[in-house]
């Protein structure tokens, strides 16, 4: 008896107003109130969209191929250059890792515990959807917890370019990626384009904490007397993103300017090497062992 009356009451304009009030409440709800359920709801909606989105991304990759496809040089040369870059990244990774271990030798036991627990591997994932409202928005990939993906795992393209980090809302078969240009901070070291000199100590290469700008780039204040030049390569030197990501290329220095208030420091602007929105597939770091 009550239900029909209630349904009659909640119809027409009243229903519209009720839904609007509900939407307003959800819009202004705190993060803690939204986090437990909205991501699941979004995943539920994204499931029927996945085939169409996948087809769309496939077509987009055909209509507007990734920029490397337009490179006029021979493909084998490109492949070799990419291999060189990957090995250089591995080299920088090992150097950074070495420095990190030396720095934290006092807590060797803890480090060993961390190392023992890491069984990571790389896996390719397809981008099955992007935030349609912005170019630098989040992307959805077809890899999830079932593949060993964890929050904070990194996503790479072209072998060693860091483009994103896996967000918290990981589903069984899909997950969202936060673009690197949306991360509040990113610790990097700046190297010459040809890479670091093995005989030069790592401290000679300036470190920087990148902050995003409104132009889709990063800026950082570099307090170092070392020479800085346009074209220097920023490589990840941030322990928060795991060992595998260390040394990955992030961007290149596109502008250097002095800071009036700090004569010994300079402000650099770094442009990302790649944008998450331009790629149909990414390589993600996944755990090869059992999820914790």
């Amino acid at each position: 008896m009550q239900a029909p009356r209630f349904i009659r009451f909640l119809s027409g304009r009243r229903l519209d107003w009720s839904l609007a009030a509900l939407a307003l409440a959800a819009s202004l709800a705190p993060v803690a109130a939204l986090r437990p359920w909205t991501a699941d709801l979004a995943r539920l909606v994204s499931v029927p969209l996945a085939p169409v989105s996948h087809l769309g991304v496939f077509l987009r990759a055909r209509v507007r191929p990734e920029q490397s496809a337009f490179d006029p040089r021979a493909p084998e040369t490109l492949a070799l250059e990419q291999e060189v870059r990957q090995f250089r990244t591995l080299y920088e990774q090992s150097r950074l890792e070495n420095e990190r271990l030396e720095r934290s030798i006092a807590s060797l036991a803890a480090v060993r515990a961390r190392l023992d627990g890491t069984g990571q591997r790389l896996a390719e994932a397809s981008v099955v959807g992007m935030d349609a409202s912005r170019r630098d928005g989040a992307a959805r990939i077809n890899a999830g917890a079932r593949h060993g993906l964890r929050a904070g795992s990194v996503a790479l393209v072209s072998g060693d370019i860091l483009v994103g980090v896996v967000g918290q809302d990981i589903g069984a078969l899909s997950a969202s990626l936060i673009p690197t240009t949306k991360l509040p901070s990113l610790g990097v070291r700046l190297y010459p384009p040809q890479g670091s000199d093995p005989s030069t100590p790592l401290n000679s290469y300036p470190g920087a904490m990148l902050k995003p700008t409104t132009r889709g780039t990063w800026s950082a204040d570099v307090a170092s007397t070392q020479p800085l030049s346009i074209g220097m390569v920023a490589r990840l030197a941030d322990d928060r993103f795991g060992r595998t990501a260390l040394g990955a290329r992030v961007g290149t220095v596109v502008a250097i300017e002095p800071i009036e208030k700090a004569p010994l420091a300079r402000r650099v602007e770094i442009a990302p090497l790649a944008s998450l929105g331009d790629f149909a597939t990414v390589v993600v770091v996944v755990e090869s062992g059992e999820p914790e």
């Binding site: 939407a23 819009s27 202004l28 991501a39 169409v52 929050a151 700008t213």
Partner: protein, 207 residues
């Protein structure tokens, strides 16, 4: 109006925007298909369900566009990182207001004219954008939960979304033509008002 057809159209449009739509972008001028689908339905569906169907599309758009908020512990190691958050509401309200603006225009617009539909789409998208930005500004005051345009400013976002609304209107031209070809699937009821007159009263000539 057949709701299942509308729901499928909304989902396909959202999927199109989230995947192939990037190809149609020229700088910040980027058209979206979803507003065209909503406006197409608004121009022909019964008025009483207009706001509701717009809100449904807004909900889908909200769910597919998570925002990045600064948050601790998204990455091992602690603070100063980011996480994704889905906020269902800003586009729901934006689309609702857009629908409230488009519904009274139905009488003034020829629904078979793509230019008129594009104009309606422009109005719809502009209002939806204004509400979207306003909601997140208020949200920033109330809960400080981050904004989708970070590290940009609200002003730049309004400008960007105004360009986006223009893109929506441009995309609406071919989209409306295409949607008009599927009109028979939607089950719209065409109500034609018949005015009484001598010819309809009969017997004028026979008298």
């Amino acid at each position: 109006m057949r709701w299942p057809v509308y729901i499928v159209a909304v989902l396909v449009a959202a999927a199109f925007d989230a995947s192939f739509g990037a190809v149609l972008a020229v700088g910040d001028l980027r058209g979206h298909l979803l507003p065209s689908v909503v406006v197409f339905a608004l121009l022909s569906a019964p008025r009483r369900i207009g706001v509701r169907l717009a809100m449904l599309a807004g909900l889908v758009a909200d769910l597919l566009a998570p925002i990045v908020v600064a948050q601790a512990a998204a990455v091992d190691g602690g603070a100063d990182t980011a996480e994704l958050l889905v906020v269902p509401g800003p586009r729901v309200l934006g689309f609702a207001l857009g629908a409230l603006a488009v519904l009274p225009l139905r009488g003034l617009l020829s629904r078979h004219n793509p230019l008129a539909s594009a104009a309606a789409t422009l109005v719809f998208s502009m209002l939806a954008a204004v509400v979207f930005v306003a909601i997140f500004i208020v949200r920033g005051w109330v809960v400080d939960g981050g904004t989708p345009w970070w590290p940009g400013t609200g002003g730049s976002e309004v400008l960007r979304r105004a360009l986006g609304a223009a893109g929506d209107a441009i995309l609406a031209l071919p989209a409306m033509w295409l949607l008009a070809r599927t009109r028979s699937w939607w089950g719209f009821t065409v109500m034609t008002r018949v005015s009484p007159g001598l010819a309809r009263q009969g017997g004028v000539n026979s008298a």
